[in-house]
């Protein structure tokens, strides 16, 4: 069984203007390739930080993180950026679409960052928008979309480079129940179609229970919830 994510003894402390805040210490975590897993836990337990560390947009103070058997810390900033572009897709709770750009332009960004020609990137973005059911909304600005639509665009954007790993940080946290169920179903379908490893952070126990594997995170660390892990 190959591992998509392997984090060993990682610690993270934020040193801002106030006193240092230790998010977690000596945390180890792994996820097999192709899994659809969820992480649950109380606010402040470090779920989002864990996703940021796995995605390489933040660095652990100690410990190692391997994604698809590559050490993120060993990569140069440029190589890490390229790896993230090719292998990792992010979906955030507040969608984080760029308001100056249309839905299609937002979805085309990962391709354009990779150097794909504009026309080709737009064509692929249009296809993805069609796949998430928003073909008729491609020219709309991000602000003109509903919450559920914005999150669908964000999912399309995360999948633009056909990543091996999708990291979703409370993708339904800001949506009503119907939109949340719809977005979750979309994630599930896309996982079945594309087979990418998916790790999502959620506060919704109902959605978490529909994942192949569930981890619970607390101040003490991260541990698999047995009932669900057995299913995976």
């Amino acid at each position: 069984m190959t591992l998509a994510i392997e984090a060993r003894h990682i610690s993270k402390t934020y040193t801002g203007e106030g006193a240092p805040v230790t998010v977690f210490r000596d945390l180890s975590f792994s996820l097999p390739n192709g899994d659809f897993a969820a992480v649950m836990g109380p606010s402040g337990s470090g779920k989002s930080t864990l996703l940021h560390l796995i995605g390489g947009i933040d660095r652990p103070d100690s410990g190692t993180i391997h994604v698809f058997e590559r050490s993120l810390q060993a990569l140069s900033p440029r190589a890490r950026a390229r790896f993230r572009n090719e292998q990792i897709g992010f979906v955030f709770q507040f969608h984080h679409l760029l308001p100056e750009f249309t839905a299609e332009e937002n979805v085309a960004f990962p391709d354009r960052i990779a150097g794909v020609p504009e026309r080709e990137a737009r064509r692929r973005a249009a296809e993805l928008l069609e796949r998430v059911g928003l073909a008729d909304r491609r020219d709309h600005g991000a602000r003109a979309l509903s919450g559920g639509e914005q999150q669908r665009v964000a999912i399309a954007r995360a999948l633009a480079r056909k990543p091996g790993l999708l990291l979703a940080d409370e993708p339904t946290g800001n949506l009503d129940a119907a939109a949340a169920a719809s977005v979750f179903s979309l994630l599930r379908e896309l996982h079945r179609e594309r087979g990418m490893t998916t790790l999502l952070v959620t506060h919704n126990p109902d959605l978490a229970s529909r994942c192949d594997r569930l981890f619970t995170m607390s101040r003490e660390g991260i541990s698999p919830s047995l009932g669900l892990s057995e299913r995976g």
Binding site: S48, T49, H52, G55, I57, D58, P77, R78, A81, R82, F83, R84, N85, E86, F90, F92, Q93, F94, H96, L98, P99, E100, F101, F109, P110, R112, I113, A114, E118, R157, R161
Partner: protein, 389 residues
């Protein structure tokens, strides 16, 4: 279009919700445009005047002047004359016989210190004719055909002791003063110049005129090679070096002073981009999550500065060049003809100067965006996303 250019242009053009940033961008563009325009117009004004002075230098100065390295007489004027006739572009040559004295009216009631000389390489006045500058004519109240006296600083022995050498001359022509060094107030015939200076034979220097004065440096090289050591060969540029230096200095000072407008406008670019970086902090994090490198993000903000620079500079160049050409073509700024030789303020647009102004403005704009762009590249992306919830 590159990803960075695409993002930068969109940041600059979608200003609906960012009126303050758009206003600062507009102020930056206007500032750069005004600075570039002011620089181009000022330099065109200076160039207009300086071109006239340079033309005068070429018209009124000898293009080449050969004098002995030691002593005040050329040992072998024949050799100098032969060397000059052999150089490329040679037109004419002649001895330079010159000196200082006083010009007085016939009554001797007023006298002025003057320089006199023969024609040198140009045709000299004939007989007792003299060409005098307009300023001397004004001071002695002389017109064409009037008589006046030039008294040399040299003396000759007479039965009553040494007396100054004086000649009586007729004004054949009044010409505009050039203000160039070595320019004479009174131009006389060779014979008159020899009488006044006491140089009966030969000359202190030999002068030549060339078909194209701009090739004087090459001609001087050829003359030096032919003559060998013992001679000083100077071009018209070297003869007027102090004036040329003053003109260059004037341009540098004007450039440095007016360029401050562009520098102030560039400070606006710094604040504009810094504001955009702060406002778009979350975007930086999102772009990073999509795989943008810090260099790429830095390039977005450098492009922002470059776009402001290019737009401002382009507007400034068009306005500056247009205004200068219009002012020159339609003689918009008149000059009193009794004070100045010119009837209007001349403007001359030099391509190299416009290019220098444009490059300076663009470089300043780019430089202004480097600092905030670097700050953007240094932002921690995780923190940018975490704090923008």
């Amino acid at each position: 279009m590159r990803f960075e250019t695409f993002v930068a242009l969109r940041y600059l053009t979608t200003s609906r919700r960012r009126a303050h940033v758009a206003l600062i961008a507009l102020i930056s563009i206007v500032g750069i445009a005004v600075g570039v325009m002011a620089l181009i117009v000022s330099l065109a004004l200076l160039s207009g005047f300086q071109d006239r002075i340079r033309t005068q230098m070429m018209e009124k100065s000898a293009h080449l002047r050969i004098s002995p390295a030691r002593g005040d007489r050329l040992a072998d004027p024949g050799k100098v004359a032969r060397a000059l006739t052999g150089i490329p572009g040679f037109v004419s040559a002649g001895p330079a016989i010159e000196g200082r004295g006083w010009a007085t009216d016939l009554e001797g009631t007023s006298g002025f210190f003057i320089r006199y000389r023969n024609g040198g390489a140009k045709p000299a006045a004939e007989g007792s004719d003299a060409r005098i500058t307009s300023s001397l004519a004004a001071r002695l109240r002389l017109n064409s055909g009037d008589m006046f006296r030039v008294i040399s600083s040299r003396t000759r022995l007479s039965p009553i002791g040494p007396i100054p050498v004086a000649v009586l001359l007729r004004v054949s022509e009044v010409f505009g003063s050039s203000g160039l060094s070595r320019s004479a107030d009174v131009e006389v015939s060779d014979d008159t110049a020899r009488v006044l200076s006491g140089i009966a034979e030969g000359a202190g220097a030999w002068e030549a005129r060339l078909a194209d004065p701009r090739k004087a440096d090459a001609a001087a090289q050829a003359a030096r090679a032919t003559l060998g050591p013992g001679y000083v060969v100077e071009t018209w540029r070297e003869l007027n070096a102090p004036l040329a230096f003053a003109l260059r200095l004037e341009k540098v000072v004007i450039f440095a002073t007016i360029a401050l407008i562009i520098v102030v406008a560039a400070l606006n670019i710094v604040s504009n981009i810094a504001l955009t970086v702060i406002e778009k902090k979350r975007d930086l994090g999102v772009f990073t999550s999509m795989g943008a490198t810090p260099t790429s993000l830095q390039r977005v903000y450098l492009t922002l500065g470059a776009v402001i620079g290019v737009v401002g500079t382009s507007i400034g160049v068009v306005l500056g060049v247009g205004l200068s050409l219009t002012a020159d073509r339609f003689q918009i700024v008149p000059l009193p003809s009794d004070v100045y030789v010119m009837t209007h303020v001349p403007f001359a647009v030099h391509g190299a100067e416009v290019a220098a102004v444009a490059v300076f403005a663009l470089a300043t704009a780019m430089l202004a965006s480097v600092l905030p762009a670097r700050a953007a590249a240094r932002l921690a992306p995780g923190e940018a996303i975490r704090l923008s919830r």
